[in-house]
Symmetry: C2
Subunit: 229 residues, 2 copies
Amino acid sequence: MKAAFRDVKEVIRTRIVDGDWGPGELIPNEIDLAAEFQCARATVNRAVRELAEEGLVERKRKAGTRVRMSPVRRAQFEIPVVREEIEASGRMYRYALVRRDLCDTPDWLRARMGLGDRGQVLHLVCVHYADNNPYQYEDRWINLAALPNAADVDFSETSPNEWLVETVPFSDAEISFSATASDEVLASHLGCAVGNPLFLAERSTWWRGEPITYVRMVFQRGHRMTTRF
Amino acid sequence: MKAAFRDVKEVIRTRIVDGDWGPGELIPNEIDLAAEFQCARATVNRAVRELAEEGLVERKRKAGTRVRMSPVRRAQFEIPVVREEIEASGRMYRYALVRRDLCDTPDWLRARMGLGDRGQVLHLVCVHYADNNPYQYEDRWINLAALPNAADVDFSETSPNEWLVETVPFSDAEISFSATASDEVLASHLGCAVGNPLFLAERSTWWRGEPITYVRMVFQRGHRMTTRF
DNA sequence: GAAAATCATTTGCCTAGACATATTACCCGC
DNA sequence: GCGGGTAATATGTCTAGGCAAATGATTTTC
């Protein structure tokens, strides 16, 4: 007899999956469920609350709990550091710095990151290899106003990604995925043809409201991001 | 004065983000925190438990709670029904069925879905419009062995997506995202040029271990999938 | 010294009862 | 029939206390 709320949760989940309680239908209230399962209301509450967090049911005060019409399926992706992603798949990781510039913040970046005054940014371009095949092209901009010491770091060995993770551990971020076409630069670095469709991930990061970094990550042809739920 | 556990949670989160409690460090135990915040231990428990679920801290019995070295970054995407996605953005939704075939299960589909014996599948092609602009091209295959009555449904008005959601509401799924190039069919339906890079989502669905449906969803040029965390 | 048994600490979960809050349902006056 | 106020109800959260389980630390035994 351990973790009763888990059992309650699974019984309810089974009833929903099997269609005993169909979409849109109201399920019994917490007091009745507690009576049925012979437990405290708090136990039922936790079970049903977690099901609601998973998107299986919808709860409203007074109105009760009902099975969702269209289950809000939330797909969860872990966003690992590239090196870990490659090494986890058993391939050898290699990193190369392609370019390093110090420049004034371009306007498009100021707009995107919400940078008010002009200042300097560190622009880094690097490529991540898996088993010596190009895997990801990384185009990164670091706000030097927020991280002045980034200018002194030697990024020829440490990838900016890993340096940032150690330096600014807990930040807010916005990530977005889309498709883009390979241009000549990408084609030469990734070893594909110009015009090939490529998977693109962009990420902006803030720390305490201050813009830290923006990165464009373009993956090798055929890259897929997969998850089960 | 509502939701004390939320306040506790935010105070602790702030201390971690600000570096008062650095990566790898042990934070006070629940009893001490409860004393500090003048609340019951259960309240602190919920606060810290949720922080652990978010990946900010790591908990172990007897060992206590410590701040994670590298926070597990989980991006969460909601996978809504197309119509809801479009209507939520304030645009008008329209749906069109392009093609409907009954055919023997092609080999590639049998391999992908883990379908053992050969049987028939229903192949549907449709397009979803937002404000009369093509938004998503949907290429769907439904396993008739699992859903024989799908053959009798009129999909000219109801989109297969919505019919399936009502009929087989809660299933296991695998979803994957990638980039693809527009071919002539896609170009004509989506109104883009041949060769344009397009964002592709593929989804396989099972119900109680039985393959139900596989769908390829190709989005209009420039589509982005975004999330904050 | 190494392995095994015991102890202590911390999180995990449960109960029973209480009050708060949102929201529906109903009743009433018009 | 309709608008507005009021009561009823289901969920949301808190408290105080208690037992369970995992596991790091310590001590005992061989």
